[in-house]
């Protein structure tokens, strides 16, 4: 369960989030769409305090933190409720694939090494990298690195996994392999918040779509509502610009 109340954030007096209120239920898959500069990544990063909101309340799982009075201890326990998959993967460069996945288990979950190893091997198998245990991140393709990033997040068994444009840095031909892994875990009932530009993926995977612009949530609804019958002019403009022919192909797909 995620609960955000009146989240505000400015960078150099420039407001980026202007009071976001949001509730996300357990097992829900929510994607955030919006033009660049709309505050969607900042919102995601406020969920684990990689950005500290200026104002408002963040709750993930049982941990509630008031931004203004957040202590180090509170921030740490809030972070331990979530895991993040980064746009640029951010795998630990000096650790092997297996060690990357094990790291969180050993350090924050206090697993024994053998246990962490067994668990991590299973997860790597799941993201299709069972044969890459001893590779270093720099020896992998972007798509493979991102799948390690997903396994690292899954290992923590968090309340929610946050995806920050997980395919934006990938070569087009590698996007598919990452999206299919994310789809597979979405079906397992893990709560996910995804910032993405992949419209057809968002349509397919989400329970709910948020459209953000200018630091506010302009519109939200089911993928069908947002993509087929957006109520707000700004949403319509954005969708038109991003995927002029998307709704057509969506309708065609449904017709077939």
């Amino acid at each position: 369960m995620i609960y955000l109340k009146d989240i505000q954030k400015s960078f150099n007096q420039q407001p980026v989030l202007k009071g976001i209120n949001l509730k996300i239920g357990k097992g829900e898959v929510v994607t955030i769409l919006g033009p660049s500069g709309s505050g969607k990544t900042t919102l995601l990063r406020c969920l684990n305090f990689l950005e500290k909101p200026d104002e408002g309340i963040v709750q993930v799982g049982d941990i509630q933190v008031k931004s203004k009075k957040a202590t180090k201890r509170e921030i740490l326990s809030l972070r331990r409720q979530s895991a993040m998959v980064f746009q640029h993967y951010n795998l630990f460069a000096h650790k092997t694939v297996l060690e990357n996945v094990m790291e969180g288990l050993i350090v924050t979950k206090k697993y024994k090494k053998a246990e962490a190893k067994r668990e991590s091997e299973l997860l790597l198998e799941k993201v299709g990298l069972g044969d890459k245990h001893n590779y270093f991140p720099s020896q992998l393709s972007g798509g493979q690195q991102q799948r390690v990033g997903i396994a690292r997040a899954l290992a923590l068994n968090p309340e929610v996994i946050l995806f920050d444009e997980p395919t934006s840095a990938l070569d087009p031909e590698l996007v598919g392999e990452v999206l299919s892994v994310i789809k597979a875990i979405a079906q397992e009932g893990i709560t996910m918040v995804i910032v993405t530009h992949e419209m057809s993926f968002a349509k397919e995977v989400s329970d709910r779509v948020l459209f953000m612009d200018g630091g506010v949530i302009v519109e939200e609804g089911s993928p069908l509502e947002i993509f087929n019958a957006p109520k707000e002019e700004r949403t319509r403009q954005f969708l038109n610009r991003i995927s002029r022919d998307f709704s057509v192909s969506f309708l065609e797909e449904r017709a077939n």
Partner: protein, 235 residues
Amino acid sequence: MGKAFDPSLIVDFIPTLIYYLGVTLQILAASVLLGMVIGIAAAILRLFRIPVLNQLVILYISFIRGTPILIQLFLVFYGLPAILLFINIDISRMDALYFVIITYALSNGAHFAEIFRGAIKAVDYGQTEAAYSVGMNNSQSFFRIVLPQAIRIAFPNIANSIIGSLKDTSLAFTIGVMDMMGRGETLIAATAHALEVYLSLAVIYYAVVLVFEKIFRLYENRINRHQTVDVSVTG
């Protein structure tokens, strides 16, 4: 000038001098290890801008960089006993070797601090964010994720610094330490064959530096094995 140049003496001198290589390496090892501890601590104080200590570290580093090591050696040799005498500790009879180690540790510490500070800042901040995202606290993220990568970045400079430090130990004889150089000075006094002694010393120091460079290069390749692009700097 001493006696006529006799190259065959070099063959005799080298074994005599090399016997004292142990002392040189002892000074080097102790001062590098202590220097690492000082360097990492000083770098942390600077990076986290700990009030007062940060300014003291800046002063310390600037002083070490701005003064010749020979003068630092004399300042420690004469100054440290004088200061400690104020609190009734008499170290005037302490082995000169320890003064050398203290001086070189302080000198290495200042150089290492700047190298580490640069290296730590060079580690991508995304690594820290990833560490936070898996639930690490500040010190876990620093010691498990950032520092190991910083050491890899710092290593070529540290290696150069250690080699410089090895050569600097040749000044230890000035306060009476019997290392290779010190033994060389006594050989000159006894034989008056200065050139042969210095040539012998040059051969030994050069050989040791070559061995060090080889070891450093091997180690560097090892710690860089996760890098696709091989960065190789030493010597």
